[in-house]
Amino acid sequence: MSHTFESFRPDLGGGEASGAFTAEGQILTWHASPPEKAGEQQASLIPAILELTESARLAGLPSFEQIVIEGSERKILLIRVQEEGPFLFLLGGKSLDVLPAMEKLKRAAEAVEVSLKEPK
């Protein structure tokens, strides 16, 4: 399975981080630019995102499909894929153009989803 997730590497155009993790916070793949930032990114983003999704669930919202966070500096896009998961796919960076970046993220996540469905 880890090989499948390694293929998730959306074009980081403008991005600083991309990765996939489980709803329990287990990291499946992570790419950072520059690479030495990976640990810091994971430590600050993943717990907060899991807390956000849990708060949304407690607020009575159905399972989320996508989340967009646009800060003054950075943008973070997140989509959730149910297949054998759920798995959360993230793309973040300073100069992301939200709509095209979200499309890229979806396509990349779909590719992973398709490969997960393929007979092993």
Binding site: L52, A56, A59, P62, I69, E70
Partner: protein
């Protein structure tokens, strides 16, 4: 017992009359019932009783009908002389201010002296039953009649003006119009008890030095503006406590902003916070989404720090989940919107961003540019 002014009143006008009677008793205004026959005292009292909040102490005076004496929850003051009965009444009346349940006095066939003492000592919260009393008799005794309602077998004389807005009463009577008497009684008593308890809760919040805003009360107590007015007026009538000055109003520009969103067909809810304080709240359709969730999202994003949202700087959050979308904007206020149905959330975002910018231009003070202003 039915009420009517002339001939056969329509259902609407019956509700109108009933609303005035309900409002009079609920607001503890004074009322005199004049009947042709004392045998009608008990049936009329039973008709009026469902409008008197059950949490009040019901104190009966005078020539109380036998059937009335045996009703549950009534206390008959008939021992001792007139002075000792009046002293007992005054004590119960004064104890209201220290938190004792409010009293409702009902006098039956009182003599001239007893009625004179009752009306001079108690400025509210009493009903007096007489037989054959005319409006002129009351006016000659210095009790101007505000309104007269004709009944089969007598008249009701309302001495104090009812509240200008009878909306809460009319709404309640329309809701219960097709109910059985027992269910109608239950629903009226439930609403009256809710309002009484709501007032106690507001009082406790203020005593605990919590900041209380009108939108906060409206959301937490699940009431409309006119319901809140009724609660505050009842507190004044029952406990002589005016909490109005302690409740912060929604800023006029925020009210205007919320009203302007009523045309957004998929918008279910909007909430605006000034720091932790809910300063604007509107529910455009039935939904359950406590506005505190918006604050919770903000706290989480604040903790993300420089990873995404720098503290004190504007940001935008969108969560799409099934048929619901939540959008949160951090600007001068924290804005939260819940959308339901097939909204194109990007176009909603663009429209709302313009309205937020217009709102933030209005009042004086710090203004931050809105996050994601360039998103199409």
């Amino acid at each position: 017992m039915t009420a009517g002014r002339t001939g056969q009143p329509s259902k609407d006008s019956l509700i109108f009359i009933e609303a005035r009677v309900l409002a009079t008793l609920w607001d503890r205004n004074r009322m005199v019932c004049s009947l042709t026959d004392p045998l009608l005292f008990h049936p009329l009292f039973c008709w009026l009783r469902i409008y008197i909040p059950r949490y009040r102490q019901l104190l009966l005076l005078g020539d109380v009908p036998r059937e009335t004496r045996h009703l549950k929850g009534v206390r008959v003051l008939d021992g001792g002389d007139l002075n000792s009965r009046i002293a007992a009444l005054e004590q119960a009346f004064s104890e209201e201010e220290t938190g004792a349940p409010p009293i409702q006095v009902v006098g039956f066939g009182l003599g001239e002296e007893a009625f004179g003492v009752l009306r001079s000592r108690l400025d509210r919260g009493w009903i007096a039953f007489f037989s054959g009393l005319k409006k002129k008799d009351l006016e000659d005794a210095g009790l101007p009649v505000h309104e007269e309602i004709s009944l089969e077998g007598g008249d009701l004389f309302i001495l104090d003006p009812p509240p200008a807005d009878l909306g809460p009463e009319e709404e309640l009577l329309l809701e219960t119009a097709s109910c059985s008497p027992a269910m109608k009684d239950f629903m009226i008593q439930m609403r009256q008890s809710q309002m009484y308890l709501a007032f106690q809760a507001i009082h406790a919040e203020i005593e605990a030095d919590r900041s209380v805003t009108r939108p906060y009360l409206s959301e937490t107590l699940w009431i409309k503006e006119k319901g809140l007015k009724k609660i505050l007026r009842l507190g004044q009538r029952e406990q002589r406590l005016d909490l109005e000055p302690y409740i912060k109003d929604t800023p006029p520009q925020v009210i205007e902003f919320l009203k302007s969103l009523s045309q957004e067909s998929d918008l279910a809810l909007a909430a605006l916070f000034d720091r932790e304080e809910l300063v604007g709240y509107a529910r455009y359709r039935e939904c359950f989404f406590p506005s505190r969730n918006i604050l919770k999202f903000k706290q989480i994003l604040d903790r993300m720090g420089n990873s995404a949202c720098e503290p004190g700087r504007p940001w935008f959050l969108e969560i799409r989940a099934g048929d619901k979308t939540v959008q949160v904007f951090q600007g001068r206020y924290l804005y939260g919107f819940l959308l339901e149905g097939g909204t194109k959330s990007a176009s909603f975002r663009n429209r709302i961003r313009e309205r937020i910018l217009a709102l933030e231009r209005k009042p004086a003070g710090r203004r931050e540019p809105l996050a994601g202003a360039g998103t199409k």
